[in-house]
C-alpha cells in the first residue's frame, strides 16, 4: 500500500507557482518557507497523481455527502433540504450579538467600527 511513494521528484510546481499561489492565499512566506513549500508541494502532488489512473469521465463529482441521504427520498434538489431553511426575517433565529460583544475580540476598533491600516497609498 505504501509502495507507490514517489522515488523521484519531477518538478510540477515551480518557484513562480509558489509565489503566485502565496499571493492568492494572502501569505508572504520567507525564502526558507518558499523552498520548503516547493519541495513539499511537489512531493505531495506527485503522490496525488495516482488519481489519474482512474477513468472518471462519466463519474459525477461530489461536493458533500448529504445528498446521498435525506429525510425524504421522494423529494429532489432543494425541496429535500427544505427543513434547513427558515423564514427570511430580520432577527432570524435569534438576536444578533450586541455591538460591543462583536467588537471585543477585534485587534483595533474606534468603538463603532473595526479599524485597519489605510487601504489606498497616497
Amino acid at each position: 500500500m505504501f509502495a507507490a511513494l514517489p522515488v523521484y521528484i519531477r518538478m510540477k510546481v515551480t518557484e513562480k507557482d509558489v509565489a503566485y499561489v502565496a499571493d492568492l492565499a494572502n501569505l508572504e512566506l520567507t525564502g526558507d518557507e518558499r523552498a520548503r513549500m516547493l519541495r513539499d508541494l511537489n512531493s505531495i502532488l506527485e503522490y496525488v497523481d495516482r488519481l489519474n489512473e482512474l477513468d472518471t469521465k462519466d463519474v459525477p463529482p461530489m461536493a458533500q455527502v448529504s445528498d446521498r441521504y435525506g429525510v425524504d427520498e421522494s423529494k429532489t434538489g432543494s425541496a429535500r433540504f427544505a427543513y434547513a431553511s427558515r423564514e427570511d426575517i430580520l432577527e432570524g433565529l435569534r438576536k444578533s450579538l450586541p455591538h460591543e460583544v462583536a467588537l471585543q475580540n477585534a485587534p483595533d476598533t474606534d468603538g463603532t467600527f473595526f479599524k485597519v491600516p489605510k487601504v489606498i497609498e497616497r
Binding site: 500500500m1 501569505l27 513539499d40 508541494l41 505531495i44 503522490y47 488519481l51 482512474l54 472518471t56 485597519v116
Partner: protein
C-alpha cells in the same frame, strides 16, 4: 486510579451523595495538576464555569432530585469548539487570545445534560495533523508511553481520557482525528455520521468532512455522549433531521446474525504484524459471538489519501481565509497597508502545516489546476462512496484496523508530511463517505502499545457499530 470513572459511575456517586460534583471536579483538577505537566493534554482550564455547573448539580442532588444523564460528570473539550468566555485557540497562535462570544452547540448540549466542563484540550493547529505535534503551544505525550505521540488531531482529547484527566471528552474528526488518537491511547473514539451532530461552533477545517464526536473509556459512555449531542440544530443547515435513537438501549441487542465485512484492501503491505494479529483475533472473537464474517472489497481504497488531501485542503484554504487580523485573532503590528497586514498576520499567525495545506488547497483550486485536482478528487470521492454503498448491500458493518501501526515516536514523522498523512490511511475514507466509525481497543503490541479495532457503519446507523463494539468490549 481512584477516578477511573465511567459516566454512570460518576453520576450515580453524586446522586447517592457518596461524593459531590464539586469534590469530583476538584479531584480531576488535582489529577491534571499532577499529571498534565508530563502529558500536555490541556491548554486552558475553565474552573469558574466548571464549579458553577458543579454547584448547580450538587443543589439538585441535595434535594434528592434525579440528575440529568451527565449530571456532574467532568468532561474536556477539544480546543476547536468555541466556549463562551473561555479562551479557544484551535491550537493556533492566530487565535491565541480569542474569547468566543458564544457556545458550540455540542458543548451547550453536554452542559445542558449536566456535564462539568473542566477545560479545553490540546490538538494539532486547526485540527491539521495526525500526532498533535502541530499544536502551536506544545505537543501532547501519549500517557501509555511518554516518548510517543497520542495520535491526532484530537490528541489532547484521547490523552485526557487515557490518563483519567476527564471522564469523557469531545473531539473532532475530519480524516481520522477522533478514531486514530483513540486507537493510539487505548480509549474508545466515535465519529458519527456527517450531519448527525451539529457543527455550529466548531472552528471549520473542511466543512464537508468535519464531524464532532466523543472519546470515552467505554462504548456505553460513547453511546451516552452521542445521545446527548446528536440531533438537528437549526444553527447548522447540514445537521440532519433524522430521529436520534436511544443508543444506550440499543447496545444490549444481540449481535448474533449480524454480517460483518472484512475488506481485503485494509490488510495488505504496510500493516504492522502485531496490529494485524490483534485485529484478526478480534474479528475471530466477533465470529464466536455469532457474527457472520464476510470478505468484501473496497477497490478504490488506495485513492483515499490523495483524494482527501485535495478535498480537505481546498476547503481549508477557503475556510481559513477568514483569519485576516481584522475582526478577531492576531494582527501583525508592523504593517503599513491593509494588504501587508493580512499577509503578515497570516504569516506570523499560522504554523508550517497550516500554511502548507492552505498553499496546496489554493493551488488545487486555482485557475488551470481546478479540473486536474479539485474536480478530479471530487469525482474519485464519488467512487469511494460507491465502494461503501456496494459493500453495505452485503453487510451490516465493516471491521478493519483503525491505524496501520500503533503510536509512533514524537519527532518520527514531523519532517515528512506525506508519511504523516499516511497515518490516516484507514480512517479518511469514512470521512469522505460521511459514514460513522468507531475505534475500540483490541489488544496491545509487543511493546505494550494499544491497538484499535475500527467498525464502520451505514449512514445514521451508529446503533449497529456501537452494538458490535460493545459486544466485543464486553467479551474481551
Amino acid at each position: 486510579m481512584q477516578n477511573a470513572l465511567t459516566i454512570d459511575a460518576a453520576r450515580s456517586a453524586i446522586q447517592q451523595r457518596t461524593t459531590t460534583a464539586k469534590a469530583l471536579a476538584e479531584t480531576f483538577y488535582a489529577e491534571i495538576e499532577k499529571d498534565d505537566p508530563q502529558i500536555g493534554a490541556y491548554l486552558t482550564l475553565s474552573k469558574d464555569r466548571a464549579f458553577a455547573k458543579a454547584a448547580e448539580i450538587d443543589a439538585l442532588a441535595e434535594k434528592g432530585e434525579p440528575l440529568p444523564p451527565l449530571g456532574g460528570v467532568p468532561v474536556g473539550i477539544k480546543d476547536v469548539m468555541v466556549t463562551r468566555g473561555v479562551r479557544t485557540t484551535a491550537g493556533s497562535k492566530i487565535l491565541g487570545n480569542y474569547i468566543p462570544p458564544y457556545d458550540c452547540t455540542a458543548v451547550a448540549r453536554l452542559e445542558a445534560a449536566g456535564a462539568v466542563v473542566l477545560g479545553k484540550l490540546n490538538c494539532d493547529e486547526f485540527a491539521m495533523g495526525s500526532s498533535t505535534e502541530n499544536s502551536a503551544w506544545h505537543p501532547v505525550h501519549n500517557p501509555r508511553d511518554l516518548s510517543r505521540v497520542p495520535g491526532g488531531s484530537s490528541g489532547g482529547s484521547a490523552a485526557a481520557v487515557a490518563a483519567d484527566m476527564a471522564v469523557a471528552t469531545l473531539g473532532s474528526d475530519t480524516g481520522g482525528s477522533i478514531r486514530q488518537p483513540a486507537s493510539f491511547c487505548g480509549v474508545v473514539g466515535l465519529m458519527p455520521t456527517y450531519g448527525r451532530v451539529s457543527r455550529y461552533g466548531l472552528i471549520a477545517f473542511a466543512s464537508s468532512l468535519d464531524h464532532i464526536g466523543p472519546l470515552t473509556k467505554t462504548v456505553r459512555d460513547a453511546a451516552i455522549v452521542l445521545r446527548t449531542v446528536a440531533g438537528r440544530d437549526p444553527m447548522d443547515a447540514t445537521s440532519a433531521e433524522v430521529l436520534v435513537p436511544d443508543y444506550v438501549a440499543e447496545l444490549e441487542k444481540p449481535v448474533r446474525g449480524l454480517k460483518l465485512g472484512v475488506p481485503k484492501e485494509y490488510f495488505g503491505a504496510g500493516l504492522d504484524p502485531d496490529v494485524k494479529n490483534s485485529v484478526e483475533a478480534a474479528i475471530q472473537k466477533l465470529a464466536e459471538l455469532g457474527c457472520e464474517i464476510v470478505p468484501v472489497s473496497l477497490p478504490h481504497t488506495k485513492y483515499a489519501i490523495p483524494t482527501y488531501y485535495i478535498v480537505a485542503t481546498a476547503e481549508a484554504s477557503s475556510n481559513l481565509a477568514r483569519f485576516d487580523g481584522v475582526r478577531y485573532g492576531y494582527r501583525a503590528s508592523d504593517a503599513r497597508t491593509l494588504s501587508e497586514m493580512y499577509r503578515r498576520s497570516r504569516d506570523h499567525g499560522f504554523g508550517a502545516e497550516v500554511k502548507r495545506r492552505i498553499m496546496l488547497g489554493t493551488y488545487a483550486l486555482s485557475a488551470g489546476y481546478y479540473d486536474a485536482y479539485y474536480l478530479k478528487a471530487q469525482k474519485v470521492r464519488t467512487l469511494l462512496v460507491r465502494d461503501f454503498e456496494e459493500a453495505f448491500k452485503k453487510v451490516d458493518a465493516i471491521v478493519t484496523p483503525t491505524s496501520p501501526t500503533a503510536a509512533f515516536k514524537l519527532g518520527e514523522k514531523v519532517d515528512d508530511p506525506l508519511a504523516m498523512y499516511l497515518a490516516d490511511i484507514f480512517t479518511v475514507t469514512a470521512d469522505l463517505a460521511g459514514i460513522p466509525g468507531i475505534s475500540v481497543p483490541c489488544g496491545e503490541t509487543k511493546e505494550n502499545l494499544p491497538i484499535g479495532l475500527q467498525i464502520l457503519g451505514k449512514h445514521f446507523d451508529e446503533a449497529t457499530i456501537l452494538r458490535v463494539a460493545h459486544a466485543y468490549e464486553q467479551s474481551a
